[in-house]
């Protein structure tokens, strides 16, 4: 065992770096002790106490660096070489581990005071607290999480409304604020129509129908599906509506949702009446007389009507909406009659496979008027029409695959097509099935190429049925725009190539599907 010393004259290093080098040296195999210090008197006395002070080290000045190692000769030499390497090594870390992510909403806002919106998608039982934190920090909130209690929702919304903040949700997956698509939303042009929607895919369907007619929007505010319940009282619908009424860029307003509780309907109508901007109330399947007597209010029953009427108001070159839809329906009837002839005798039933709950709902509104037999669903218009087992279809039925029963522990069907693909095979294999209808929702947040995956499955399922002597008709509509990352036309064309019939709206697709099975029923 000996002490080896390396002196580097006039080489300054700060003491902490040197202690770090010393620590590495001490860990060097075979090294008993090591020290790396500047040659100050204090350091020399420390070296002496540690038995590391050699005469040459004692002769240094405070500007010299002393590297002292106690070890066998060979090891000591190696350790000194190592020490030089460590000292000359420039820090290569830097980038790694450098990015600091805030742990809390509050922390993020403190670091980024420009933040003005929070998207919250943590598990429901934590979501309310995060939403509170975001509101307290003055952020608007898109609360994507489900399973937030009604009490929390009400309290959060009251606070938000009082403080001029948006609390979109819970369960709100769609919003377009200042042209930015938040969550599931489409790339739509800027324009003069403002939307408040208690139905996520409803907002997507209406905003894309507007876009298909060359009309853009100012804002697309989501409220979450429970907002129109009597207990919540439409707090966000009313707050959003008022904001749009006061917004100078918004000239027309479309409100979307399932029919609100009567008390809420009244509140909404009253708020509409306070403004003067033409306002379309698109409460699907609801009573259209609610708008009677309010001169700037119009009530419609489908998303299609809402989108088209909004477009017409905003200047799209469209004829009378009722006549337009009647004309389209007449054409669809011809198509339906033709398609019905391809079906075998036993093929009578309609099966809907939806990823968008609102679209599933709109279809049921249309089928209820159009069809003589009831269509059951796991998300029915009324409880009497509830499917017994949503995993197995019977008769006419339509399944919202985005319902919680299907999405627990699994991605949403707008993101992941697997569930729907399995269901396509299942339905097509049923000899009583005549028509399968589905929605294909594109845009931000959605699957990057749903048409290829769904189309391929449809093609195969149809081929299998054909092999058994049946022609299964598959109808779809694409909710999206040309500017969406997936591209409306690209998706529609791909679906057609795979043998699907593609309609320009969910309503049109529903009518076509309904009229085909109705034809068979007659």
């Amino acid at each position: 065992m000996s002490v080896k010393v390396l002196i580097k004259t006039s080489e300054y290093h700060d003491s902490v770096s040197l202690m770090l080098v010393a620590r590495e040296l001490t860990e060097f195999p075979g090294v008993e002790d090591a020290s790396v210090v500047m040659g100050t008197e204090a350091n020399k006395s420390l070296l002496e106490q540690a038995g590391l002070l050699t005469p040459e080290a004692d002769a240094t000045t405070p500007n010299d660096l002393i590297i002292a190692v106690k070890a066998d000769n060979v090891v000591a030499e190696k350790a000194l070489e190592e020490a030089e390497k460590i000292l000359s090594k420039k820090s290569t870390v830097g980038g790694e581990g450098a990015e600091f992510l805030a742990k809390s909403v509050r922390g993020a806002v403190r670091s980024h005071p420009e933040a003005n919106m929070a998207i919250i998608s943590v598990a429901g039982r934590y979501a309310a607290e995060e939403a509170w934190e975001a509101l307290f920090q003055g952020l608007h909130v898109l609360l994507f999480s489900d399973n937030v209690s009604l009490e929390d929702e009400i309290a959060l919304k009251k606070f938000a409304a009082e403080h001029g903040l948006l609390l979109m949700g819970p369960g709100a997956g769609t919003a377009i604020i200042n042209g930015v698509a938040l969550g599931f939303a489409n790339v739509v042009p800027a324009g003069s129509v403002g939307i408040v929607s208690a139905a996520g895919t409803g907002l997507q369907e209406v905003s894309t129908l507007l876009a298909k007619n060359g009309i853009g929007i100012t804002q697309g505010i989501g409220t979450g599906g429970r907002d129109l319940k009597a207990s919540v009282g439409g707090i966000m619908m009313l707050a959003g509506l008022q904001a749009l009424q006061e917004d100078e860029n918004t000239h027309y307003i479309v409100l979307i949702g399932k029919p609100p509780a009567p008390s809420v309907t009244q509140l909404v109508v009253d708020q509409v009446a306070k403004g003067s901007k033409p306002t379309v109330m698109c409460f699907m399947g609801g009573d259209v007389t609610v708008a009677d007597g309010v001169k700037n209010a119009m009530a419609v029953r489908t998303l299609q009507e809402g989108g088209l009427l909004g477009a017409k108001l905003a200047g799209a070159d469209l004829p009378d909406i009722d006549a337009l839809i009647a004309g389209e329906t007449a054409d669809l009837k011809v198509q339906a009659d033709e398609l019905a002839t391809t079906l075998s005798d036993g093929q009578r039933y309609l099966r809907g496979l939806f990823s968008g709950g609102t679209l599933c709902y709109e279809s049921q509104v249309i089928w209820e008027e159009l069809m003589s037999e009831p269509v059951l669903s796991n998300a029915p218009l009324n409880k009497a029409k509830t499917m017994e087992d949503s995993t197995r279809s019977e008769g006419h039925c339509t399944v919202d695959l985005g319902e919680e029963e299907f999405t627990v522990g699994r991605p949403h069907p707008m993101i992941d097509n697997d569930l729907r693909i399995r269901r396509i095979y299942q339905e097509a294999a049923d000899p009583e099935v005549a028509v399968i209808m589905m929605d294909v929702v594109i845009g931000y947040g959605a699957h990057m190429d749903p048409a290829s995956e769904l189309g391929l499955a449809v093609q195969e399922a149809k081929a299998k049925a054909k092999a058994e002597g049946r022609e299964v008709i598959v109808i779809a509509s694409v909710t999206g725009t040309e500017l969406d990352p997936q591209g409306l036309t690209r998706q529609a064309k791909a679906l057609e190539r795979y043998g699907l019939i593609v309609c320009p709206s969910n309503a049109a697709a529903s009518r076509l599907a309904g009229m085909i099975v109705e034809k068979k029923a007659v």
């Binding site: 202690m19 830097g94 993020a108 420009e114 929070a118 998207i119 995060e130």
Partner: protein, 469 residues
């Protein structure tokens, strides 16, 4: 919270905080919108978010009051004196120590060493053995510095005849006291004993103290310590483990007064040399500055902010503004350190000292981003130092606009450790500290960092809930 209108956001550029699934923010990011992903963790089970007390106190407002008082403080070095003459409650047979209250039996090695050394230095005991007997025999009253408007680094021993700095908070009129810093290595505050230690203390009492006191007395405005700390943070100090800039600034501030009030140039030269050779001289001013700023913030009902955080080498203790007389105690932690030649972690005592008053007052380890020269303590790179400070913003209620960090775009340092945030986030305060040898008599052997122990925060949080909810 101010009330706005939903319309206020219309037309403004969005900037999004994403809480949860990263995929939710991807689309927003793709649209070129600034998106800040949270490193979100579920809150710890059973930790409730506390906002309004049962009697209606808004905790945030109470905390706002606390940090307002700390920010308004103007700690100023006004004078010096002898401990027994100036420190409230101090007497001839009392010794003050760092951290929460502790008995002689439970004191760690370095604190025992420092107590014995102090008794010999005072002449109360003839030698260390006699001192040990006296201390163990109950002849000496031990009391925490924090109970006497005083703070002490490491063992924090203040004995009756030690000279102390007197720091006055010019805004609130309260005072804080701290001894003069002896330097590093074998020194009393690290538990060092022996003739060289006593000799140095005597010199500090007989030469250093009168020279500094005379100089200070010729400065009617005193020395604005808040300003010195603020400048030091811009010069690579964080005010706890690095005080090189602060020490230099102090010498500059007091220099002319020293020259004017001293006759003997050689004495003056020795004084300047002593201060110059001790990079930590300013620690004993940055600490009482923090104490002077924090004390007026004690006693705000409903506040969840810490006004005291201190260790005695055995226990780690904290006190809340709303419960200023109650210590919450947990075993002191092990320091992750770098060591002087000849020493290793096996020699290290547990975490000790009142110096965490600096973090409590919004600098020290919390201002790590300001001190790139000592970033090796946090893992080696300036980026990590920045991360260390950014992390501390999470658990601090506010930011000290008086103490800014250039590399963070002159953002204020994290201020006001909020026990709620600590419990909600599970992030414990990250502290800088020196390391004592565990045996009495040896002294300082290194420096490092550690986290405060969770238990005292959990206990304080529980007591806070019990009192207010």
């Amino acid at each position: 919270m101010k009330k706005g209108k939903i319309n206020d956001v219309f037309g403004k550029p969005l900037a999004v905080v994403n809480v949860g699934l990263e995929s939710m923010a991807q689309a927003v990011k793709d649209q070129g919108v600034p998106t800040f992903q949270l490193d979100w963790q579920p809150p710890k089970e059973g930790v409730k978010h506390l906002r309004i007390t049962k009697s209606g106190i808004n905790i945030d407002e109470a905390n706002e009051e606390v940090v307002k008082r700390i920010k308004q403080a103007r700690p100023t070095l006004v004078d010096m004196g002898v401990a027994k003459n100036v420190i409230p409650g101090m007497h001839d047979r009392m010794i003050l120590h760092a951290g929460p209250p502790i008995t002689w039996e439970r004191m760690c090695g370095p604190m025992k060493g420092a107590v014995m050394g102090a008794l010999v230095y005072e002449g109360i005991a003839g030698n260390e053995e006699a001192a040990e007997k006296m201390a163990a025999g109950g002849e000496i009253e031990f009391s925490p510095c924090h109970h006497h408007q005083t703070v002490g680094p490491m063992a924090g021993i203040v004995s009756p005849s030690m000279p102390v700095f007197i720091v006055e908070n010019k805004t609130y009129g309260n005072k804080a006291y701290c001894t003069q810093n002896e330097g590093l290595g074998k020194v009393l505050r690290y538990g060092g004993m022996g003739p060289d230690v006593y000799e140095r203390l005597k010199w500090m009492e007989d030469v250093l103290y009168p020279v500094l006191k005379r100089a200070l007395q010729s400065m009617p405005e005193g020395i604005d310590l808040k300003a010195l700390i603020a400048q030091a943070l811009h010069m690579g100090d964080e005010g706890h483990n690095r005080n090189r800039a602060g020490t230099s600034l102090f010498l500059r501030a007091i220099g002319p007064a020293l020259a004017r009030t001293n006759q003997d140039n050689e004495v003056l030269a020795k004084v300047i040399e002593f201060i110059d050779k001790n990079d930590h001289f300013f620690l004993n001013l940055s600490m009482p500055a923090g104490k002077a700023a924090l004390e007026p913030a004690e006693g705000v009902e409903g506040s969840s902010i810490l006004t005291v955080m201190a260790r005695n080498g055995t226990d780690f203790g904290i006190r809340l503004s709303s419960m200023p007389d109650r210590w919450f105690i947990a075993p002191a932690g092990e320091v992750e350190g770098l060591y002087f030649p000849g020493f290793s972690a096996a020699d290290a005592n547990l975490d000790i000292g009142d110096s965490t008053v600096t973090e409590t007052a919004g600098y020290g380890g919390f201002a790590m981003a300001a001190a790139p020269a000592i970033t090796q303590f946090v893992g080696g790179t300036p980026d990590m130092a920045v991360s260390a400070t950014l992390e501390m913003y999470e658990i601090n209620f506010s930011e000290h606009e008086g103490f800014t960090i250039p590399v963070l775009n002159y953002r204020g340092t994290p201020l006001g450790i909020d026990v709620r945030r600590v419990m909600e986030t599970g992030i414990l305060p990250k502290l800088n500290t020196g390391i004592s040898h565990k045996d009495p008599g040896v002294g300082g052997i290194g420096a490092g960092i550690l986290r405060a122990p969770e238990k005292c925060f959990a206990d304080a949080f529980e007591a806070f809930q019990k009192k207010y909810f």
